[in-house]
C-alpha cells in the first residue's frame, strides 16, 4: 500500500478521533458557559490564519496575492479577536471577593 494512502488514511482517522474528543468534552457543560465556550472554540478555528499565511507565502500574481491577503487579515482578526473577547467574557466570571 502506497505510503501516501496510509498517510491519508491516518489523517482521516485523526479526524474521526477528534470528532469523538470534541463531543465527549462538551457533553456536560453548565449553560452559563455556553457563550464563552462558543467564543473560545470560535477563536480556535482562527487557526485558518495559518492556511492564509501558507497560501500567501507562495502566492504569485495579483489575484492570488489579494485573496491571500484578505484571508490573512480575516484569519488574524478571527484568532486574535476571538481569544481576546473570550478572555474578557471570562474575566466576568471570576469569583468576587
Amino acid at each position: 500500500m502506497s505510503p501516501e494512502t496510509t498517510i491519508f488514511i491516518l489523517t482521516f482517522f485523526v479526524f474521526v478521533l477528534s470528532v469523538f474528543v470534541g463531543f465527549e468534552e462538551i457533553s456536560k457543560v453548565p449553560s452559563m458557559l455556553h457563550t464563552p465556550l462558543m467564543s473560545g472554540t470560535n477563536a480556535i478555528h482562527g487557526i485558518i490564519l495559518f492556511g492564509g499565511i501558507l497560501a500567501l507565502a507562495d502566492a504569485d500574481g495579483g489575484l492570488a496575492r489579494t485573496l491571500g491577503f484578505i484571508a490573512v487579515v480575516f484569519g488574524s482578526a478571527n484568532v486574535f479577536g476571538g481569544f481576546m473577547v473570550t478572555d474578557r467574557m471570562l474575566q466576568m466570571f471570576k469569583k468576587k471577593k
Binding site: L33, I47, L56
Partner: protein, 483 residues
C-alpha cells in the same frame, strides 16, 4: 530525529493544548485558564508553522508575500483587538458572530485559492499534496466543501451580527421560502458534485465562482428568516460550520493542525448548538426553519386573559421587600434592555444591609444569550455566590417571602408546567409563583420572546410594578432607604 519530525511532534502538542483548552473552558473554575491554554497552543503553532513540504515558513528569504503576511496579520490583530475591547459586555455575541464570519471567509478564500490554482495548473496538485490519485477527488471535494461552508458561514454570520445589532431584527419570511432555499441548496450541491470530478479548465473556474456566490447568498437566505433572539443558536451553528470548513482546508492543504483544530470546533460546536436548543426546550429544526421566535424580544402586542392584574406602586413594593426575610430576584431580558443591572445590585445591597437574605435565580436561557444574566450581574459586581442556578433554587421557592421578577417573562411562565398546548410546554422554569408574594417589573402587559400570555401576572399573589426596570428600581431603592 529530523527537525521536521520535531516540528510535527510540536503540532501534536499544539493539538493537545487545544483539547485541554476546550476541556478547561467547559468548567467555570478553569474556563479562563482554558482560553489561555488554547491561545498558547495557537502561538506555538504559529512559530512552528511550516509548509506541506516541510520547510518552515519563517526561515526562507523575505519577499513581497512576507511583507503582505506581516501587514495583513497586524491589521487583523488591530481589528480584533479594537473589536474585542471596545464592545459592550452585552454586545459580545455579535462580536463572536463577526469574528466567526471572518474565519469562515478566510477558510473559503484559502480553499478557493487552492482550487483555482489547481484548476489552472492541474499538475501542481500532484506535487503540492502528497496524496495518491485515488484520493485527489477527495481533496477537490474538501476544497469545495470548505468554500461552500466557509462562505455560507461568512455571509450568515454577518446577517446574524446585524440582527443582534438590532438591524431588521424581525424575521423576514415569505411563503415558500424554505422551498426556495432548498432549491438554491440543491443547485449548489449539484455544482459541487460536478466540480469534484471536473477540477480543471476555465469551465471549472467559472462554475466554482458561481458556486461561491450562490453559497454567499444562501448564507443570507438561511439566516434572514430567523428571529433575532435565536441568533445565539445560529451563531453557535455557524461556528461549528466554520470549524468544519477549516478542517476541510486542513485536508486540502494537508495541514494536520488545521484538521484537528477545525474538527474539534466542528464537533463540539454541533453538540453545543444542540445543548442550547435543549435549554430552550426547542428542537434545532424549529429554530432554523420554524417561524417561531417572531416574538423577537417582547415587542409583541398585549393580549387579554381572564383574571385581574393588580398593579403596585414602588413605595408599597418597598415595604413588602423591607419586611421580608428572604427575597429572590429573577432577572430577565428586560433587565438587559433597561441596562438596570447596577440598580439591581444597589437594591440587593440595600436589602442585605437590613439582614434580608437576597439571592438571584438565574434561568439558563434568561435574556438572549446563554449566561446573559451572569455576565450582566457580574459586570455590576454582584457576588458570585449570590447567584443560584434554577435547579438549585426551585425546591426552596415556597419558602421565599418576595420574589422580584425584573424584566423576565417566559422563564417564569407557569404555562411551561401546566399547558400542554403552550409552545414552551416542558421548558423548565423558575417557579416564582410558589413564592408568598411575586412582584413583576415590566413596562406593560406585553408578551415575552415566546410571544405568549403569562398567567403568573394574573395570580392572586402577584403584583405588577409597571415601568422601565431602571426607573422602577431607582424608585424602589429610594423607597427602601426611606424605610
Amino acid at each position: 530525529m529530523s527537525s521536521t519530525t520535531i516540528i510535527d511532534l510540536i503540532f501534536i502538542g499544539v493539538a493537545v493544548l487545544f483539547i485541554i483548552g476546550i476541556k478547561f473552558l467547559s468548567s467555570p473554575k478553569t474556563a479562563r485558564r482554558g482560553n489561555l491554554v488554547a491561545a498558547a497552543g495557537m502561538f506555538i503553532a504559529l512559530l512552528a508553522l511550516h509548509k506541506a513540504g516541510g520547510q518552515s515558513v519563517w526561515t526562507q528569504g523575505w519577499n513581497l508575500n512576507y511583507t503582505l503576511i506581516a501587514v495583513g496579520t497586524i491589521i487583523g490583530l488591530i481589528i480584533g483587538a479594537i473589536g474585542a475591547y471596545s464592545v459592550k459586555m452585552t454586545a459580545m455575541p455579535q462580536m463572536v458572530a463577526m469574528f466567526n464570519g471572518l474565519g469562515g471567509g478566510a477558510a473559503a478564500l484559502v480553499a478557493s485559492l487552492e482550487f483555482i490554482r489547481g484548476a489552472h495548473q492541474p499538475e501542481i496538485a500532484g506535487i503540492e499534496l502528497p496524496l495518491p490519485h485515488d484520493t485527489s477527488s477527495f481533496i477537490a471535494g474538501s476544497m469545495l466543501f470548505a468554500t461552500l461552508i466557509g462562505s455560507l458561514s461568512f455571509s450568515g454570520s454577518i446577517i446574524a451580527f446585524l440582527k443582534l445589532e438590532g438591524k431588521f431584527e424581525k424575521p423576514h419570511t415569505f411563503p415558500g421560502q424554505n422551498f426556495l432555499n432548498g432549491l438554491i441548496l440543491l443547485v449548489i450541491l449539484g455544482l459541487c458534485g460536478w466540480l469534484t470530478f471536473n477540477t480543471t479548465g476555465s469551465h471549472a473556474v467559472t462554475g466554482f465562482i458561481v458556486m461561491f456566490c450562490l453559497a454567499l447568498f444562501f448564507g443570507i437566505a438561511m439566516v434572514m428568516p430567523i428571529g433575532g433572539a435565536d441568533m445565539p443558536v445560529v451563531i453557535s451553528l455557524l461556528n461549528s460550520f466554520t470549524g468544519l470548513a477549516v478542517a476541510a482546508d486542513g485536508f486540502a492543504i494537508n495541514n494536520l493542525a488545521m484538521v484537528v483544530a477545525g474538527t474539534l470546533v466542528g464537533s463540539s460546536g454541533t453538540l453545543l448548538t444542540l445543548l442550547m436548543c435543549k435549554a430552550m426546550n426547542r428542537p434545532v429544526t424549529n429554530v432554523l426553519f420554524g417561524a417561531f421566535g417572531s416574538g423577537g424580544g417582547g415587542q409583541a402586542a398585549a393580549g387579554g386573559v381572564a383574571g385581574t392584574v393588580k398593579p403596585i406602586q414602588a413605595d408599597e413594593a418597598a415595604l413588602l421587600l423591607a419586611y421580608a426575610q428572604r427575597v429572590v430576584i429573577v432577572p430577565g431580558y428586560g433587565m438587559a434592555v433597561a441596562q438596570a443591572q447596577h440598580q439591581v445590585r444597589e437594591l440587593s445591597d440595600e436589602l442585605g444591609k437590613r439582614g434580608i437574605e437576597v439571592q438571584f435565580a438565574i434561568h439558563p436561557v434568561a435574556g438572549r444569550m446563554p449566561g446573559h444574566m451572569n455576565v450582566l450581574l457580574a459586570e455590576a459586581n454582584v457576588p458570585y455566590d449570590q447567584l443560584q442556578e434554577m435547579e438549585a433554587i426551585n425546591p426552596s421557592m415556597d419558602r421565599v417571602d418576595v420574589c422580584l421578577v425584573i424584566g423576565a417573562n417566559d422563564v417564569v411562565n407557569p404555562a411551561a408546567r401546566e399547558e400542554k398546548s403552550s409552545p414552551i410546554y416542558g421548558m423548565p422554569i423558575i417557579e416564582a409563583d410558589h413564592a408568598k408574594t411575586v412582584i413583576v417589573m415590566k413596562r406593560s402587559m406585553a408578551k415575552g420572546f415566546a410571544g405568549i400570555e403569562n398567567h403568573l401576572f394574573y395570580k392572586d399573589n402577584t403584583r405588577m410594578l409597571f415601568g422601565d426596570a431602571k426607573a422602577s428600581l431607582n424608585a424602589l431603592v429610594a423607597a427602601v432607604k426611606a424605610n
